[in-house]
């Protein structure tokens, strides 16, 4: 029974062996495993006639599908035609939805900030709304403090005459830092 099982397993094992061998050969030929060239592979990795034909098939595929580049004039020809299509598409987009262009530009700017400072998503609606709310509150507090009609002249008492300007700056900077730290901590 064991002997029969062994005999039955042999073709399967040989197939798996060939699968791995051919895959390995292809990887090496395409440079995915240390860039070993065909020369190093001709030392007996695959020795049978049938396997040699498979090797040759892989080599032929590499020549046709990897090394044979499309003609430059074909690429240039298509690019010329694409240029007109691109222009038409841009004009159509501008004509249809100018606000979308502005919105997309703001979103890109925010995404750049995210990547630069490793922030959590500024473009996510909740964090954007929260950041906006913090800035609004800070500005309102600043306005209340600096307005002699509403506040009680606190900036003047603390910073002297004209003290509203440094206080506003300090509040805005603190608010900005708070937003920044919040976004960064939540990433």
């Amino acid at each position: 029974m064991d002997e029969r099982e062994e005999q039955g397993d042999q073709p399967m094992l040989r197939k798996q062996y060939l699968d791995n061998l051919l895959a390995d050969f292809t990887d090496k030929l395409l440079g995915d495993k240390g860039g070993v060239g065909l020369g190093n592979l001709e030392t007996g990795l695959i020795v049978g006639t049938r396997e040699r034909l498979l090797e040759e098939m892989v080599v032929a595929l590499k020549k046709a599908l990897v090394e044979d580049s499309p003609r430059a004039e074909v690429s240039a020809h298509i690019r010329e035609r694409l240029a007109a299509e691109w222009k038409a598409e841009m004009e159509k987009a501008r004509a249809e939805s100018p606000p979308d262009f502005r919105k997309a530009s703001i979103m890109t700017w925010l995404e750049r900030l995210e990547r630069r400072f490793n922030l959590r998503s500024l473009t996510a609606p909740r964090s954007f709304a929260l950041s906006f709310a913090v800035v609004v509150i800070v500005v309102l507090v600043a306005v209340v403090l600096i307005n002699p009609q509403i506040g009680s002249g606190l900036p003047g008492a603390v910073f002297g005459p004209g003290g509203w300007l440094p206080l506003t700056i300090v509040l805005l900077v603190l608010g900005g830092i708070a937003v920044f730290l919040f976004l960064r901590s939540r990433r």
């Binding site: 791995n20 051919l22 292809t26 595929l61 046709a64 599908l65 003609r71 035609r81 694409l82 987009a93």
Partner: protein, 189 residues
């Protein structure tokens, strides 16, 4: 389509903002891949037109690309769609049989459907490549696809296994069967 993801994302964002230079860089990077893919599935005479249609579709759809998949995967889908459209339009004109999978529901395993190659098809490449591409076009879908994923797209076997939703062993086995079938057809033609 190897390890371009980060760079691609920046280029796509710029192109979405209207930068033609960014789009041209994307085009230069992906033109050979798209061209070779189309050449594996369509008659030589129509490869340029279909490749152009693919990139026109890219121009029109790029604004809708949301970075949920890799650009190369998205592009592969566009290529398949354009090739399917091509064969649909050919079928409506009753010209030839389409390739397996681009028009009907059959899996095509083991079937041998021939594409008509006109005289013009045979003018632009060496005989060796023409015979090879013809044999590729006549392969069953799954065989042709794994060859394209490995050679044209440059995916490793583990990446192909992931894309195809198969085990690594099954992927390598499929690859060997594809190469064996192609080799047999090359020698019989």
């Amino acid at each position: 389509m190897v390890n371009r993801t980060t760079n691609d994302d920046d280029l796509i964002r710029s192109a979405q903002q209207g930068s033609v230079d960014a789009f041209n860089t994307l085009y230069e990077g992906y033109f050979p891949v798209v061209y070779r893919r189309v050449r594996c599935v369509a008659p030589e005479a129509d490869v340029e037109d279909i490749t152009q249609d693919v990139f026109i579709a890219v121009v029109r759809s790029l604004k809708n690309f949301r970075f949920e998949a890799q650009f190369s995967t998205w592009l592969r889908t566009l290529v398949n769609r354009q090739v399917a459209d091509y064969y649909r339009s050919r079928k409506s004109r009753c010209e030839t049989y389409p390739l397996d999978g681009y028009m009907d529901d059959s899996d095509g395993e083991g079937e041998d459907r021939r594409i008509d190659l006109s005289v013009e098809d045979r003018t632009s490449s060496s005989d060796e490549f023409i015979v090879l591409y013809q044999a590729l076009r006549n392969l069953p879908d799954n065989y042709r696809e794994i060859i394209m994923l490995r050679f044209v797209d440059g995916l490793r076997f583990d990446e192909i296994a992931q894309v195809q939703g198969q085990s690594l062993e099954a992927t390598k086995s499929l690859f060997r069967r594809a190469i064996t079938t192609l080799q047999k057809r090359m020698t019989s033609e």
